[in-house]
């Protein structure tokens, strides 16, 4: 079966989403674009295994994610912290009146373990259902749910966001922990 024009158009249309997901995973623009490139090549080769009418985006995200983890394994799971992430961490300060700087948020996101970060991105930003995210990550729906919830709790903790719900730090610990030292 020839690769159809429609498939190519759909691939082109998916690139912005793929890049966003790749950047969220790799936290590095060059690596992210390499991941997207690999994903497109693989998708092209495997196009016959894609079932038209099913979710192309989920299919592509699965390929990209597999590629990301296989590259990480090849590199012996290098420390992610090589590109100024430490600096970003230091910049995090308490949110004031719910105004949260995007840079701070990015820094906080980078501190999450990959499995939690990808889960919260897939569910909270990429628009996948828990079922779809579970399929993309090759795990149970409950696992995705717990990763999202841990990711969210961790982000709230790092960014010191309070008052959103009962999972947030309580008022006293916020008073103790939340004030800048100077």
């Amino acid at each position: 079966m020839a690769v159809s024009q429609g498939f190519k158009t759909d691939l082109l249309g998916s690139i912005p989403s793929l890049r966003a997901f790749a950047l969220s995973l790799a936290q590095n623009a060059d690596k992210a674009d390499d991941l997207v490139q690999e994903t497109l090549v693989k998708a092209w080769d495997k196009h016959a295994s894609f079932q038209p009418g099913t979710n192309l985006k989920a299919w592509l995200f699965t390929i990209l994610r597999n590629e990301f983890y296989s590259q990480m394994r090849k590199r012996g799971r290098e420390v992610q912290d090589s590109d100024g992430i430490m600096t970003a961490k230091l910049a995090v300060h308490p949110a004031q009146h719910g105004q949260l700087d995007l840079e701070d948020f990015r820094g906080a996101l980078e501190q999450l373990p990959e499995d939690q970060r990808e889960a919260i991105i897939l569910i909270g930003a990429s628009g996948f259902s828990y079922e779809e995210a579970a399929e993309i990550c090759g795990c149970a729906v409950g696992t995705i749910k717990s990763r999202v919830s841990r990711a969210r709790a961790k982000l709230q903790e790092i960014l010191q966001i309070t008052g959103e719900d009962e999972y947030g730090p309580d008022a006293i610990s916020t008073q103790v922990m939340g004030k800048p030292a100077a």
């Binding site: 079966m1 690139i15 912005p16 090549v41 949260l100 628009g127």
Partner: protein, 66 residues
């Protein structure tokens, strides 16, 4: 450019079914997450990807493989 905008709104529409209350509009984390991600989605796509697809198309033109 058009494609990017289309993808972006498709993401926004699609994610309503996913995020649930935990990361909904009342959640600061949820809002920042979407802002972070939408910024990435709306970045300009480098030409290399369109070129790559054109190359792939040339390498495998209307192949008869199954």
């Amino acid at each position: 450019m058009k494609d990017m905008i289309k993808t972006s709104t498709a993401d926004a529409r699609q994610r309503r079914k996913g995020s649930g209350d935990l990361l909904g509009p009342n959640s600061e984390i949820g809002r920042k997450l979407r802002q972070y991600y939408d910024d990435l989605v709306s970045e300009d796509v480098p030409d290399r990807f369109a070129q790559l697809l054109a190359q792939l198309e040339q390498a495998k033109p209307a192949s008869k493989k199954d």
